[in-house]
Symmetry: C2
Subunit: 410 residues, 2 copies
């Protein structure tokens, strides 16, 4: 058996920005970047089969080590042939390390904040709620749900309340059992509410954990991504970009607290990206609303994951080129048109807005499915447009057009 092939090739760069188009090759296929990865938190893109997801043109999905470690167990999935076989998805998979849950189950749940503080409405916060399990029934007065020490993290399972532990070594081991193509270092994801002193201590620990993750990795058919942390503090972000960027990670991710606004997020990307080695792919963790993509690609991001497009679909919020629509709105009661004219998805080519609204009103299982198909098709098509714009050198023009479009929320 020849060694599994991993390669990242930048094929086009935008002379006016850090945007680039490329090809990311993994043992399960090549991803055209920039690319949006839907979440398959519990080894399924909610409501969809792998055939549905393939038909949309999705190239990679992101599954969650935290969830799968707790249920059904990474060892069980390994016995069943690994995550690709378990979920019958033969294209690339990325797994999250579980580090985000340290944040979301601990500080995040206790303080009610997401990746970009709490200034956005919860649904729009890009905070990857599919990674944030429902709040456990025990009250916070029973003590913090997460305890972090130098070695790792002890946390309470959201499923059965049992005490669980993840360390850099056990996270990498679990991710090796799952067998995704791209895996992530185990990190501590600090909150926008953490002060600089705490964020610095957490960052230093995350950097020590990054070294342990590199050490713990044994499989040669998986690519390990390091995660740049440092919150919204410029000095810390730059230090992290230099440190993580200098380690032998195959790819790099930007994670954690991205400030209090989209402008903050853009500023953080502008601090970090120039310090990362240009030849490695760059993933932006947990971000990916339609209006975010072009801005982050302009700043040098290659891949994205985000739960919001699918979660919003399940709530009846649908993306269109002229903005979002809430299909539950009475104005769609008798609307014979598709969600979006010209959209090639299974939903728009078969069903009217009136029918989709009926399904939502009647609480039918087909409703979240059809809505998810549409929003993921929208994301895939939008990303294809963005990639094409990078190749043709007119991403700035497309960005302006997109901003004008998405300004209109119907």
């Amino acid at each position: 058996m020849t060694a599994p092939v991993f390669a990242f090739t930048v094929t086009h760069t935008d002379p006016q920005s850090r945007a680039r188009a490329g090809l990311l090759t993994t043992p399960h296929g090549t991803i055209e970047t920039p690319a949006f990865c839907p979440v398959a938190t519990q080894a399924t893109v909610k409501a969809l089969t792998p055939d549905d997801v393939r038909a949309i043109g999705v190239q990679m999905v992101l599954a969650n080590t935290y969830h799968l470690y707790l249920r059904p167990g990474a060892d069980l999935i390994a016995r069943l042939g690994g995550l690709h076989r378990f979920m019958a998805w033969d294209r690339p998979i990325m797994t999250d390390s579980g580090g985000f849950q340290v944040f979301s189950l601990g500080f995040g749940i206790e303080h009610g904040v997401g990746k970009i503080a709490s200034i956005f409405p919860a649904e729009e916060a890009n905070d990857a709620a599919e990674r944030v399990p429902a709040r456990p029934s025990r009250s916070s007065s029973e003590g913090r749900l997460v305890r972090i020490d130098e070695d790792g993290v002890t946390f309470t399972s959201h499923i059965d309340g049992s005490s669980q532990r993840l360390t850099p070594e056990t996270s990498i081991h679990a991710q090796e059992l799952l067998g995704a193509d791209c895996i992530l270092a185990f990190d501590e994801c600090t909150s926008p509410l953490n002060d600089e002193a705490y964020t610095r201590r957490a960052l230093e620990r995350t950097h020590r954990w990054a070294l342990r993750c590199l050490e713990a990795k044994t499989r040669n058919d998986q690519a390990l991504f390091g995660i740049v942390q440092g919150g919204h503090y410029q000095e810390l972000r730059e230090a992290s970009a230099r440190f993580i960027g200098g380690l032998p990670f195959w790819g790099l991710a930007v994670g954690g607290d991205l400030g209090r606004s989209k402008a903050d997020m853009h500023r953080i990307l502008d601090w970090v990206i120039p310090l990362l080695p240009a030849e490695k792919p760059r993933h932006l963790l947990g971000i990916g609303m339609p209006e975010d993509l072009a801005d982050a690609v302009l700043r040098g991001i290659d891949t994205f994951d985000c739960a919001a497009p699918t979660r919003m679909a399940r709530n009846g919020t649908l993306f269109t080129r002229s903005g979002r629509l809430n299909i539950l709105n009475a104005r769609y009661t008798a609307d014979p048109g598709p969600v979006e004219e010209g959209c090639p998805c299974q939903t728009c080519t078969h069903f009217s807005r009136a029918y989709l609204r009926h399904l939502f009103k009647a609480d039918e299982l087909l409703a979240p499915r059809l809505a998810t198909v549409h929003n993921l098709q929208f994301m895939a098509d939008l990303m294809r447009d963005i990639r094409q714009a990078v190749i043709e050198g007119n991403l700035r023009a497309l960005r302006a057009e997109l901003l004008a479009r998405f300004a209109g929320h119907r």
Copy 2:
């Protein structure tokens, strides 16, 4: 435009029983009978798209006038081009008249009984719970939810508590607005707990309503089925079979109270079927567990509808040739095999029992979908076997084999 074609041709008869195979032609295609029709209560086979349903080999689905009349409204569906277009299903549809809800919302909910009394566990009662909306929140002490008079039925909407009314004329009108291929007369479906005197009065009213339904019908591209009632009383069933069988209905259905056991149901079919004109198709309303099909076909039934196979799927009960299995059972935790070896469905060809169990445990939307696909494939394949056995003259042997199989519930 040429007149829409309706035809029912018996192509094979079993010399040893009343079983027959045939072709039922409607404006939306020809159904090979005997056939099982999944329910699409609210204009969707729960969790499935029309493409999924077609891929399974389903020939006709049954939608519910009661539900669609209340939400989104038959008039709205008519404005949107009718039910076929609304739900994007281009094959035959049958609509229930709403009469069953008179029973299920009234006596049924008040007394907690189904089509075959309450001696079966609720899930197995064939009682078409998808036709029985959730019990309204108002208590029964506020008065009966249904009032029947000579002209029709006044009932309380399960959606908003509003007072609603259906009569033979409004039911037929609603069904004409929906535009199904096969429509049903508006009847009163009595309960196994009704005495003979009440059942007789109700039957006489149902017979008067049958005449009004024939009178009310205006479209020539729909086939109207009369419904034989009479509860578990032989004299009444025979009188109803003669009366309804003698009217110019295009097809015939057996509805209502079918006694207290499957043996009672068989006895009732043996009273009724010989009295019906042989040239008309015969539908058995709300019945269709795997173990019921051969017995009813042997007694002369051509088509079935039943909510149980899909409802049970959503609860994790899966049909196999060696009996049912509950996928939530711990024994399937690490089972790498499909639900049923050799099953051609999308679920069995892609996913393991272990994965399906995981989806159910994790409360994933894909779980009810994959389970529904399997159970409907099972029903379609079983019915195809039964049809073939009728054609080959060995249905009795198949029935014995099926009974032995289904005796084993795992």
